[in-house]
């Protein structure tokens, strides 16, 4: 044994458990607005992730128990599960989770070695391969034309069966970001778009607030540093704010951008993943502002309604470079 002889630090497991706990407000809000299907999605993603994690650990000859207990696979499952539309078919959930755990995580060396955020790899694979299923979000309860009971939802998720005389269109709707993009393409004015029923719902704002609440808890617990969320949210706010000021008819307000899509989950839960992000404070600022810029550009000009997942993956590529060029000066060697 060698010095130091003592340690006192939260273990990896404790850190992951705190992050999982920080997701609970968002999960609760999700269930409130979209119903219990969310929990089925999360459960299925979790089981898939844990089974595949154990399988891959065994295959790689690593001790299964300590790594299964670290909570990282569960966190990937939850982040991906929350990004998949509620009521998505079971195979979509399993495919995305399998990609995240097997390919994005373990084939790159497992915990600590994966260059890309596993949940976002899973998400990107799904949205590229199954764009239809991935954009069919359940309409918030307040504007849906018809409702399904829980057993019908399970029927749909696992057997692709809808009750007679219920169409999928009646249950789902495009997300606010999706609607905005389509309507802008149709040359509608911002005022007209914002008076559409989807913008009358408050689900998105509450979801964003729930992620924000979890994020503030992580900041308070010193699990994440302020650099990433502040830089990411700030960049999106500044860019969208500037364009909104210049041309409010074509550019949505910064508040809309912040409360929509994956801005908040990205700021506090995705970009803050230590494994796939930079380690230096300056690097974190650069990394997150790059992701904010890309997110906003993809929202404006990309083929997909939201850009957080792609922005994260593109910035993941830059992490070694960012780290190499943002090394802070050491003690006594500051200019």
């Amino acid at each position: 044994m060698n010095s130091p002889y003592i340690t006192r630090s939260p273990s990896v497991t404790e850190i992951m458990v705190k992050v999982l706990a920080a997701l609970i407000p968002a999960i609760a809000a999700d269930v409130w607005f979209f119903g219990p299907a969310v929990l089925v999605t999360l459960a299925l993603a979790s089981v898939t992730a844990l089974v595949l994690e154990a399988f891959m650990l065994r295959l790689r000859g690593r001790p299964v128990k300590p790594f299964l207990m670290d909570g990282s696979a569960l966190l990937t499952a939850w982040l991906l599960g929350l990004s998949i539309p509620p009521m998505a078919p079971w195979w979509l959930i399993v495919t995305g989770t399998a990609f995240a755990i097997v390919i994005a995580k373990h084939l790159y060396g497992g915990l600590g070695s994966n260059p890309f955020n596993p949940a976002m790899v899973g998400y990107a694979v799904l949205i590229i391969s199954f764009p239809v299923q991935m954009t069919q979000w359940l309409a918030p309860a307040s504007i849906a034309q018809s409702h399904l009971d829980f057993s019908s939802i399970l029927d749909y998720m696992f057997f692709h069966a809808l009750p007679a005389n219920t169409g999928l269109d009646a249950l789902t709707s495009a997300t606010p970001l999706d609607t905005l993009k389509t309507q802008l393409h149709l040359d509608k004015s911002m005022d007209a778009i914002m008076s559409l029923p989807i913008y009358g719902t408050i689900g998105g704002k509450w979801m964003a607030a729930a992620y924000l609440a979890g994020g503030l808890y992580l900041l308070q617990q010193k699990i994440v540093s302020w650099h990433v969320p502040v830089s990411f949210i700030g960049t999106i706010a500044i860019l969208s704010g500037a364009l909104h000021l210049v041309d409010p008819a074509h550019y949505a307000s910064p508040l809309f951008q912040l409360a929509s899509g994956a801005t908040m989950i990205g700021a506090f839960f995705i970009l803050t993943d230590p494994v796939t992000g930079p380690t230096t404070p300056k690097g974190k600022l650069l990394f997150a502002s790059g992701a904010g810029f890309l997110t906003y550009v993809i929202r404006l000009h990309g083929g997909y309604p939201d850009g957080v997942a792609f922005a994260v993956l593109l910035m993941n590529i830059c992490v070694p470079l960012i780290d190499a060029y943002t090394q802070p000066p050491v003690f006594g060697k500051k200019k």
């Binding site: 060698n2 003592i6 006192r8 630090s9 939260p10 003690f331 060697k333």
Partner: protein, 473 residues
């Protein structure tokens, strides 16, 4: 009020200091024998001056300094030299070292002690300190007379005394300041004069109110309570906190107008000059798994187990640490002697120091970087050390690492980071030694080849000359 500065990171480990500060400094009985290493300081070993069978007096020099960077060793009590030979010593290398074994006769018969003139010529005073075996007692054991020479170029403005004692468990400086503030203050005056320093500032962590009070009433210096944060007692960290000056790795603080000494060193300067007593003992904290933790004024060479017996060894002990739990080293056994570098011995037990948890992979959380007082990127150094990419590790300032252990302390993956850095450093040193050796060998080879060619050439020339002469004839 002095403006205090802040250094990056640091940690707040549990203190465990109270249990060893209940009693005043204890004087242990004379041990049956003393094992006195001849190399207790940075620099070259002292040369043995005694033979087995010889009688020595208390304070008699038994090891003479060799070369400039060296220090003298003395007989801590009167008695008979039993032998001079290799013995296990408390050193990170774990290697045996040359020691003088002394059997005390119990008479405590001193050499003639000659108090010196405090106003004497600085150069002579430094030589006296070298001959009195005065070295840094904070743990680095660098010969003090060298650090007390400001040189002609530099002006030392501030003399800093280090009474921070930031490592958990250790309380020897705390007790020394409480009980012998006068000696420290008088020693500081002598040191200030040698350095020509304008001010003397003593930094004490604010968890030692009694020491602060005692030193304040001793006077002669500015006593500053510094925040309790490990490693606030690292020389560089304390200099930063008290003056704002950052001493870069590889540079001397005197070049920046600051010099720093441990408080116990100041006390031994006082004893050496004003009382004519060389360094024969030091205060050692005996704590951990013992019945009565406390501080002992131990003669140099006292076997550690003699002190542990005094403090009451408890069952369930599993070895001992020299130093604190953050930077200490495992003792090879408790039969090793007290040396000038030994400030504390912590008797280990499973309960006090549970086995380290199995390391998990690094998740790049950078808690280590946040805690690093040298402002390094420990996670990068870890990757480079692990990959044996030593060039890159040096580029990322591996040698600025002070091995304080903060990074390992906070690592959620329980990675023994400091061990990786020690490994990388020793590999780099080994490579450099090898390169030096091979450079020398190549130089020798080239020289030999050249010499042989020159011999051949000269021979050919001589032959040619001879044959030319023969032709002329």
């Amino acid at each position: 009020m002095r403006q205090l500065y802040h250094f990056n990171g640091g940690v707040h480990p549990p203190q465990h200091k109270d249990q060893s500060t209940i009693d005043p400094i204890r004087i242990p009985p004379l041990p049956e024998k003393l094992i006195i290493p001849l190399h207790q300081h940075i620099g070259s070993s002292a040369k043995a001056l005694v033979q087995p069978g010889e009688r020595v007096l208390k304070g008699q020099m038994i090891g003479q300094p060799e070369g400039h960077v060296s220090s003298a060793i003395h007989a801590p009590t009167s008695g008979k030299i039993l032998s001079v030979g290799m013995e296990p010593v408390p050193h990170p290398s774990g290697l045996d070292a040359l020691c003088v074994i002394l059997e005390p006769d119990g008479l405590e018969e001193w050499i003639e002690r000659v108090p010196l003139d405090p106003e004497m010529d600085p150069g002579t005073m430094r030589t006296k300190l070298k001959d009195a075996g005065v070295v840094g007692l904070g743990g680095a054991v660098f010969p003090s007379f060298i650090k007390l020479n400001p040189g002609s170029k530099n002006k030392v403005r501030t003399l800093i005394l280090n009474g921070a004692e930031c490592e958990p468990y250790i309380t020897c400086d705390d007790l020394l300041m409480r009980e012998r503030a006068f000696e420290i203050a008088e020693g500081a005056k002598l040191m200030q004069r040698l350095l020509g320093a304008e001010e003397v500032v003593l930094g004490i962590e604010d968890n030692k109110p009694l020491a602060i009070e005692a030193m304040k009433s001793a006077g002669g210096m500015e006593v500053v309570a510094v925040p309790t944060v490990y490693p606030g007692g690292g020389a560089k960290q304390l200099i930063k906190v008290l003056t704002g000056v950052e001493v870069p790795a590889g540079e001397r603080s005197t070049d920046l107008g600051v010099q720093c000494f441990n408080v116990a060193t100041a006390a031994s300067v006082y004893r050496a000059i004003r009382l004519g007593e060389p360094v024969l003992s030091r205060i050692v904290t005996i704590t951990g798994n013992v019945a009565q933790p406390g501080n002992y004024e131990a003669l140099i060479g006292t076997p550690v187990d003699h002190l542990i017996r005094q403090a009451g060894a408890l069952p369930g002990s599993s070895g001992a640490i020299m130093g604190g739990p953050m930077m200490g080293i495992d003792l090879p056994s408790t039969h090793v002697p007290v040396v000038k570098a030994m400030n504390c011995v912590i008797v280990k037990s499973e309960a006090l120091f549970p086995k380290a948890l199995d390391p998990m992979p690094c998740i790049r959380c950078a808690r280590c970087a946040e805690s690093c007082p040298a402002e390094l990127q420990p996670q990068e150094l870890y990757w480079f050390a692990k990959a044996k990419n030593f060039g890159k590790a040096q580029e990322y300032a591996l040698f600025d690492c002070i091995e304080c252990g903060c990074c390992s302390y906070v690592c959620p993956s329980h990675i023994p980071l400091v061990q990786y850095y020690r490994y990388a450093k020793s590999e780099i040193w080994a490579q450099e030694r090898e390169k030096k050796a091979s450079d020398l060998a190549r130089l020798r080879h080239e020289f030999r080849v050249e010499r042989m060619e020159r011999d051949k050439r000269e021979k050919a020339e001589r032959l040619a000359q001879k044959s030319a002469q023969a032709k002329e004839l």
